[in-house]
Symmetry: C2
Subunit: 686 residues, 2 copies
């Protein structure tokens, strides 16, 4: 198919309706503007820690460039996109040497491969992640030595696995899943059932078409007693025939907002009998005499451990949503440097206009901030990954969950807003699929709600912070290095002149104060609501809006600012000029956060201070805008990975775009429904 | 095709994997909650002025329900969607008796038909609008008596027309389009040319497949002099063969973010000769001796008149984006009443949670506000429509442009935010195409940038306001009834207690003050920037962010609040109970606007006042949330028009949703690329 298209492309290039007789130099002209930076230095630091992993994956993509070029596949059917994705996976994954042993040594490498794939296409990234993380890590985290063979088969792609947690009727509230696994002592088997239609496992990646194995979460019932949710590893399709196994009904969840190439499916079980060893029995076992036992007596704690398999999925979102945001910004900024409109006889690039800079640059700043928190999560990942196995109840694991949760939510939100703004900034041409935003937006949209709905998941962060604070009331010291600011910056730093908004230390203390402000406000409101509603869950729920959500966000933004500052300091040591340019991006991030604040914290500033903030945002947007094409050159993914007709680094926007249009199927064809036009003409008498 | 699908549907209903043995009563239970309202009264008032037009169109849709049911068409190809749309148009339009005469009598009827169609599917709505408004009204506004035959043919659908304004290289800056129409006196013909590739007319609806006629905008060149942009009506396809006419190259613009069923296309001209009468010659003519003449000497003014054809398109956006927002809210609110998650042993509907109410209810309030401004625009429409013809330079026309511009932008933005939030509020299931959000979001997304890019178009409103203000400096009285507040509420009304946020008159004076605040701030900033930059265009551009954009928005919100208040007063007279419930929605609109304010105006409140606002938002979200299912019942479009599997008024969310999934093509099929799975297994040695 690709071959045919190529030929068409070559043919119509010769016959093309659009005759571009000279190269467009607008992007190169913009490249000359702004301050000089060390592009290689910024690039290398920005790509940490995945430079090598990405290079490997992206080089493989380059080998089959067409297979990874979205422009050529805009019209592909749902089934066609699934096939294409399988081809992509087959081309890349086996060459990446991701084995059980290599990943035990360096777990982060797996995330490197997966997000490298996902940076081009979230479909193939997610399909790989479902297998390599959700499936394998569930078996690994919750299983025991006897399951090692299953894990190794999976790493070698002999099996393709899925992870059946979510059900039609239960997403966030996993504790309430309806699927049951009832122990039958007579045969020492487990009998799996979906007692109602809403018990259907739903949205399960790889179930629709690919998987032959599944890790599934069911209520474990032994001798009539429900011991809560446990995980089981079971075949769902016959290995040879690929047909559903007796007792398993499965199908594809159909058309979606995006990601059509992922075969999300549903699973229903009817008296499906599996041997005892299907139980992933690290934390719970059934003794040979048929008794349930677990060294973790607390059912809720046991449940918490069941969910540890989600963490890598969330980490992948922290990483990949930043990559997609960056892709959108790359396209929009390059396009804005080329696109000219208004400005007198000689029209000016739209990137020159203050409004356009205001629309794009804060998102660039947020993308930098997200890159910083991504690095933090990656730095912690290997240690925490091992701890989840050896000491899952360690406070370091809880802290990691809290950090990942807030960045999972923040990065997804950053992405959705940025991609939408980038699309709008390219005006009409941003609406073309060949621009790339439609796919980026639809793909990133999934992050809002999968692997933990954002508004639910971010509550883990505020809960953790407040628990630590409440611990201090009982005299417990604050262990987490990320919470040392509590009580330290409890009074607002003096804000006496506009220039302070360009001092990192002052900004950090302001952000620390801001987070402390939300802690105090939240605690007060919680107390007030506790008095009004008695039930602490109700009081907690009533303290989300304007309090706990803002607390979690302000914490995430504080951590980002601190990490950003370390990044800038390090950069400055190596190249002061580059450090200065990127420091501006950091100041923009901070002042934009303050400017866009809608909570009562904003009213701790007086009108003059608020204006300083607004003016600083405007000025920095302008300055960063002038430097932005160079900054993008440093951080952009390679052209063949972004695969946008209007965002290419050579700046040939119109030529690539019209070529994409001319080569799309049916561009010059008459309507196949011409008869309907004739029919229309006859409908009314003149 | 539809028939085959129906059969499949019936078959698998019998064989279905999901066995729903009892009806879900959750939605009906929520209906019992909240305060009683007069649903019919609210419905009738909300549907003004289009109740009859919509009834006619929606009844026609009911006749062929499947043809308008998006759930059945999620997998349709681009070409298939175009065909489907033509079938929809053929089914509805000829029965609506939209003729030249009937529309001259009541121009608004046309908007009723078009937005009625668009409420179900923006594809068919837009395709009809392109012909009935963009094409016909361009010919009518800019042509003369001799063009009447063309208009009448178009009304009778003998011709299908398009409107070629935008070019590949020029969207917003229409004055700079490159296409030329050069007058050749020897034959009294016009010779049309696209001198460069970027001169291609681009995105032109109906060019891709349907149109045989075009109104096109070209630089008129007479005797070597460019007289600026003028419009011409020309054939582009042979009436009989439907092939492009010699000298015309045309094609389809390809795959888009959405709206695949619209055949947006491109047009290139090469020495295309058309007779003199192709010139729409109301404002400019070429005399028989070959001299250009126009009674409007000012080239810029003449150019302004050329754009009057855009106004109806913008009005349609004002209307249809509110309808789509309402559809999204209908789906999300009903789903939230049915979906249960957390809350203890017996789970609670997610609509019960304060966070969920905070996420949805402000959008419901904004949708009401948009419905109010929609009604205002419709009330003015007929008068202004005629004025555009008879007295296009009247200040009433300018005022109308300014009003339409701000609401075109605001409603589009409201819609994009609301639809995205609704989608996220339905979590995973919101990502399914059968929910309906994917289409709503992609369709509404087009409004951001077509018919005037929002950030550009909204400047017309601030420009108009400041011109009127500057007029007062010269002693001109303020004529517009919408600007009478200027100078009247120049000081901030006292804000001494929280209860004031539920007093409409006080809120209106606050919103008037707010708009006056932005006028003053903008004028000061303009002056300051004028001193810094000399060039007034630069100064103007540098005053957009934090000033002029906020001014325009605050004006739009003020008008919405006033209209909303009139609506509530009228409702209260007829039914005080209903009036009270909807007054809450209005207070929520107002307090949410104030709460989410990010500009320095927010800092005119002290911390206590800011908290009053936030608390009022929280309380009103809660109250409106409790009433929301009933409110939605009153304002929702019929089920067959919304066509969502999870938003149906009968509340059978899971049953309809699983049915949609089971009946989608290939649900139970094995992958057609099974060979690739086998290939994967062989890639690595175990």
């Amino acid at each position: 198919m690709v071959k045919g298209r190529r030929l068409h492309l070559i043919n119509s290039h010769i016959l093309g309706a659009f005759n571009f007789d000279k190269k467009c130099t607008a992007l190169d002209e913009y490249r000359e503007r702004g301050r000089q930076i060390n592009i290689k230095l910024l690039h290398d630091k920005f790509y940490e820690p995945f430079a090598e992993d990405y290079k490997q994956v992206w080089d493989l993509m380059k080998e089959k460039e067409d297979l990874f070029n979205h422009v050529l596949y805009a019209d592909l059917s749902r089934e066609g996109l699934k096939e294409r994705s399988q081809r992509q996976i087959n081309h890349i994954v086996p060459k990446c040497n991701v084995t059980y042993e290599s990943i035990q040594e360096n777990p982060l490498r797996k995330l490197g491969m997966l997000t490298g794939i996902g940076s081009n296409d979230l479909i193939s990234g997610t399909r790989s992640l479902v297998h390599f993380c959700l499936y394998i890590e569930t078996v690994q985290n919750l299983g025991t030595a006897k399951h090692l063979g299953i894990i190794k088969r999976a790493y070698a792609l002999k099996d393709y696995g899925c992870c059946g947690m979510t059900e039609l009727g239960h997403g966030s509230n996993v504790a309430k899943v309806e699927t049951t696994a009832t122990y039958d002592h007579s045969s020492r088997e487990l009998v799996i059932n979906s007692p109602t239609p809403t018990a259907a496992k739903w949205w399960i990646g790889a179930v629709g078409k690919t998987a032959n194995m599944a890790a599934i979460f069911c209520q474990l019932i032994v001798d009539g007693t429900n011991h809560g949710v446990h995980a089981f590893v079971v075949p769902i399709r016959d290995y040879e025939t690929h047909k559903p196994i007796n007792g398993v009904t499965l199908g594809d969840c159909g058309h979606k907002s995006g990601l059509q190439g992922i075969d999300n499916g549903f699973l229903l079980f009817k008296n499906y009998r599996v041997p005892y060893d299907a139980l992933l029995d690290k934390y719970s076992q059934i003794s040979p005499d048929g008794k349930f036992k677990s060294h973790i007596k607390n059912k809720e704690k046991r449940f918490g451990l069941m969910l540890t398999g989600l963490i890598t999925g969330r980490c992948s979102i922290v990483i990949v949503s930043e990559l997609h945001t960056r892709n959108a910004l790359t396209i929009a900024i390059r396009y804005a440097a080329v696109r000219k409109q208004f400005g007198g006889e000689i029209e000016r690039p739209i990137l020159d206009y203050p409004v356009h800079r205001f629309r794009l640059m804060p998102h660039l700043a947020k993308d930098f901030a997200a890159n910083m928190s991504m690095k933090l999560i990656c730095r912690l990942y290997n240690g925490r990954f091992r701890l989840i196995d050896s000491e899952p109840e360690s406070p370091d694991v809880t802290e990691f969950h809290a950090l990942v949760s807030v960045f999972k939510a923040l990065h997804g939100w950053y992405g959705q807003k940025a991609i939408q703004e980038c699309r709008e900034c390219c005006a009409g041409h941003g609406f073309s699929s060949y621009a790339g935003f439609a796919k980026l937006r639809a793909d990133n949209d999934a992050h809002m709600t999968w692997e933990g709905e954002n508004w639910v998941v971010i509550q883990q962060t505020s809960r953790w912070i407040l628990k630590v604070v409440q611990g201090t009331f009982k005299g417990h010291p604050i262990r987490s290095p990320y919470l040392q600011f509590i009580y330290l910056n409890a009074t607002k730093p003096r804000f006496s002149n506009k220039e302070q908004l360009k001092h990192a230390e002052w900004l950090i203390s302001l952000f620390e104060y801001r987070c402390n402000y939300y802690i105090t406000e939240s605690l007060n409101k919680l107390q007030e609501n506790g008095r009004s509603y008695q039930d602490m869950t109700v009081a907690w729920n009533r303290t989300q809006v304007h309090y706990l959500i803002d607390l979690a966000k302000s914490f995430g933004e504080l951590i980002q600012l601190k990490e950003f500052n370390n990044f800038v300091n390090d950069l400055t040591k190596k190249c002061p000029a580059t450090g200065q340019v990127i420091a501006n991006v950091m100041y923009l991030f901070a002042s934009h956060v303050l400017d866009q604040e809608t909570s009562s914290f904003k009213n701790t500033f007086d009108a003059e201070q608020a204006k300083w903030i607004a003016e600083t945002v405007d000025e920095l947007c302008d300055e960063v805008g002038e430097d932005s094409v160079k900054i993008i050159d440093a951080i952009a993914l390679p052209d063949h990975v972004i695969a946008s007709a209007i965002g290419h680094s050579d700046g040939q926007v119109y030529q690539r775009y019209t070529q994409a249009v001319e080569n799309a199927p049916g561009c010059f064809d008459p309507p196949s429904w011409l008869n309907l036009i004739h029919e229309t003409r006859k409908a009314i008498n003149l």
